[in-house]
């Protein structure tokens, strides 16, 4: 199995030039969602070449060959800003769905994409987003097989919303259920956490910060393949997206009915992430990552898992971050840097900067 070692930014960024304006417009107009000539134009001149699809006649549904167990996942993607250091909405829309399949132990095979476009969206932006999606599909070896586009009036959307649905195949006997982990299991993070969340917040008006941080958004299937090849008995994995490490750890404690003990000093947060959270009064453990995994393995597999993760381009910053314990079953305790313990809770509501 080929392992994918591409990281962002790609060595060579393929810029897909707009060959000709879509009709006479350089912005999305309502007609692009009408189902008529403009819609057909958008598909033929933007989506088909953008995704590198064949020129075969378009059918109403894609028919694919599959045997055995199938994994299906769906996710909608909305991000402000749409383009951010380290990625964009398109890359996020593919990576997010591919990663949900990957951490479930599936090989991502096919993906669909539905676009809701707001009237007035520059078509050049859509080109960039589609190019990123194609790039991320290639890196994940997943095929985009079907899609849809609707257009809403100006003011009724936020530029572009993308929903992707991924289908993957699951090897016989593979189980990464959240009920698998048991007391004594070791927890690892595949790299620095929270880069994506902090990068996005730093781009927004209310929390603007100058930082050299870039989003970690990436498909993790290559990393997961490398890990599973080295440690076939991995108990469980999850990608710490919205809600961050705190949510994933709380889900693990509740799902596996174990106590989760994290060690603050061992948590791989970059200094920029910790410093930004200090300034905002936010908790780094609540910040999202979009190209990381949290892994539980048996104690005897921990070193091998760490070596396997660190051997992959996306896992160089991997670290052991804690363990499953018999005490405080169902909740997460952090051994703080200062020596005291505290319980880690899920984020309630949106992270809002504190007053002082």
């Amino acid at each position: 199995m080929r392992s994918v070692r591409r990281v962002w930014p790609p060595a060579e960024v393929r810029v897909i030039d707009c060959p000709m304006p879509i009709g006479a417009y350089d912005q999305i107009v309502l007609g692009h969602g009408s189902g008529g000539r403009l819609s057909a134009d958008l598909v033929a001149k933007l989506f088909v070449p953008g995704f590198g699809l064949s020129n075969a006649p378009l059918e109403d549904s894609a028919i694919v060959d599959a045997t055995g167990r199938i994994a299906i996942t769906t996710d909608s993607f909305v991000v402000t800003p749409r383009f951010f250091p380290g990625g964009d909405l398109g890359r996020l829309a593919i990576a997010g769905t591919v990663n949900d399949l990957a951490v479930g132990g599936a090989e991502p095979r096919w993906i669909s994409a539905a676009f809701i476009l707001e009237e007035g969206l520059p078509i050049a932006e859509l080109h960039r987003i589609v190019a990123s999606m194609r790039e991320a599909c290639a890196a994940s070896e997943v095929r985009l097989v079907t899609g849809d586009t609707k257009v809403v009036e100006r003011g009724k959307g936020d530029g572009v919303f993308i929903t992707t649905t991924g289908v993957g195949t699951v090897a016989a006997g593979r189980s990464l259920s959240i009920t698998n982990p048991r007391v004594g299991d070791v927890l690892l993070a595949s790299g620095p956490l929270g880069d994506h969340g902090v990068t996005i917040l730093a781009q927004r008006e209310a929390t603007a910060l100058e930082t050299d941080l870039v989003s970690d958004v990436a498909p993790v299937i290559g990393l997961v393949r490398a890990l599973l090849a080295a440690v076939p008995g991995v108990r469980w994995m999850r990608d710490p997206t919205r809600g961050g490490l705190a949510s994933v750890a709380c889900e693990l404690a509740a799902g596996a009915r174990v106590g989760v003990r994290l060690v603050e000093k061992a948590l791989p947060f970059r200094d920029q992430v910790r410093a930004a959270c200090e300034l905002w009064g936010l908790e780094p453990m609540h910040m999202a990552s979009e190209g990381r995994v949290i892994v539980a393995v048996a104690p005897e597999d921990a070193d091998r898992a760490l070596v396997a993760l660190r051997g992959h381009a996306l896992g160089q910053g991997a670290a052991i971050i804690g363990e499953c314990v018999s005490a405080h079953a169902g909740s997460v305790v952090l051994a703080s840097r200062a020596g005291g313990d505290r319980v880690v809770a899920m984020l309630s509501g949106e992270p809002l900067p504190r007053i002082c």
Binding site: T207, S331, G340, V343, A345, L352, C356
Partner: protein
């Protein structure tokens, strides 16, 4: 992180805990005044490391918590006026008034924006000359200089579409109030480090003398808090009551003279109601007459506001150090950060919310 991690180091913390244990011969009750200090204590489990008998009680120093319900209702009424852009610090968005919070108003169409600096509100006002931009200017002495700066610049720029809903509160009158109360538990204070970085320490000497209570102006990191506590316990054990500064890296006795000058220009002292406590004389700032044209209260008529607090809520006793969150029958059941009944649950810096966030819910259950 340089200059931060040093103040969170486990070995230093353990050494300070040992030092406190060595000094303390009997129980003492010490109040940390600031919400930020409370947060840090609970976040790092500092109180659980302390020797038995040394009790930290949480003070009224969370500005979001003590902002009166009436003021919050007024803010919400103004935010719903057509054409208004309402600018607030982030954590005020979740604070419920009598009818929901600013997040809910935003969902219903109000233009509510989070600013991290009051000057951002000026930028918004300049960019939207046809709209009325209102800044929710709340907080202790810490947020006052930046709020005052925004208002003074608005005057200099001649902005006519900018106003501020000012509800500032001051720490020293609240400390005096707590010490004058008939039911007094607090024997010493960890004073508010950042407030003193602005205001200096001169206002605290009379409190020390009048009430014979040690005040140690203290920082916000675990090592700061334990150092401050060690100094306070030493004073108590020796029968001394003095003003000391633990947070020397930020606090000068005279404070920040530039910040104080702009505060003096823009604000004047007034009586102020504190949520959960009641009116404390001379404990707030309002716009001085020179800047009254920027008063959002005067500019927007919202009718009479009658705000009624839930009777079950004991946040007043918690803010005065007379009760712990876990003493409340509603804590963690009817009253949660998602459905707060009162002051100390509404902000992440409130004592009740800090207890929930860091798992005291489970332990007290």
């Amino acid at each position: 992180m340089k200059y931060v991690d040093e103040y969170r180091e486990g070995e230093t913390v353990a050494r300070l805990v040992d030092a406190i244990r060595a000094v303390a011969t009997r129980p003492w009750v010490v109040m940390e005044v600031c919400g930020g200090q409370t947060h840090s204590i609970v976040r790092y489990g500092i109180d659980e490391l302390l020797p038995a008998g040394i009790e930290l009680v949480h003070g009224p120093g969370c500005p979001v918590c003590v902002t009166p319900l009436e003021t919050i209702d007024r803010a919400h009424a103004i935010a719903q006026k057509p054409g208004v852009i309402f600018c607030s610090f982030g954590d005020m968005l979740r604070v419920p008034g009598s009818h929901g919070d600013l997040l809910a108003l935003r969902a219903r169409g109000a233009d509510v924006r989070v600013v991290s600096s009051p000057l951002d509100a000026l930028t918004i006002a300049k960019a939207n000359p046809a709209r009325e931009v209102v800044l929710f200017a709340i907080g202790f002495e810490t947020t006052a200089p930046a709020n005052a700066m925004a208002i003074s610049q608005a005057a200099r720029l001649g902005l006519t579409n900018f106003s501020a809903l000012v509800s500032h509160v001051l720490v020293p009158p609240a400390m005096s109030f707590l010490l004058s109360a008939t039911e007094r538990r607090v024997q010493a204070f960890l004073g508010p480090g950042h407030v003193c970085a602005i205001m200096g320490t001169s206002e605290y000497a009379p409190i020390v003398d009048t009430f014979n209570a040690p005040v140690v102006v203290t920082g916000f990191e675990p090592v700061d808090l334990l150092e401050g506590l060690l100094l306070a316990v030493r004073q108590l054990e020796a029968g001394r009551a003095e003003l000391e500064i633990q947070y020397g890296r930020a606090v000068k006795p005279e404070g920040n003279v530039h910040a104080r000058a702009i505060i003096d220009d823009v604000f004047e002292r007034c009586d102020r109601p504190w949520r959960g406590i009641g009116v404390i004389p001379d404990s707030g700032w309002r716009l001085s007459p020179r800047y009254r044209q920027f008063s959002a209260e005067d500019r927007f008529s919202v009718g009479e506001i009658v705000a009624v607090e839930p009777v079950e809520c004991i946040s007043g006793r918690i803010l005065q150090g007379l009760a712990k969150p876990s003493d409340c029958s509603q804590f963690g059941t009817r009253c949660t950060p998602q459905t707060p009944l009162g002051a100390t649950m509404v902000s992440s810096e409130g004592a009740c919310a800090a207890y929930v966030a860091y798992g005291r819910l489970r332990r007290s259950a």
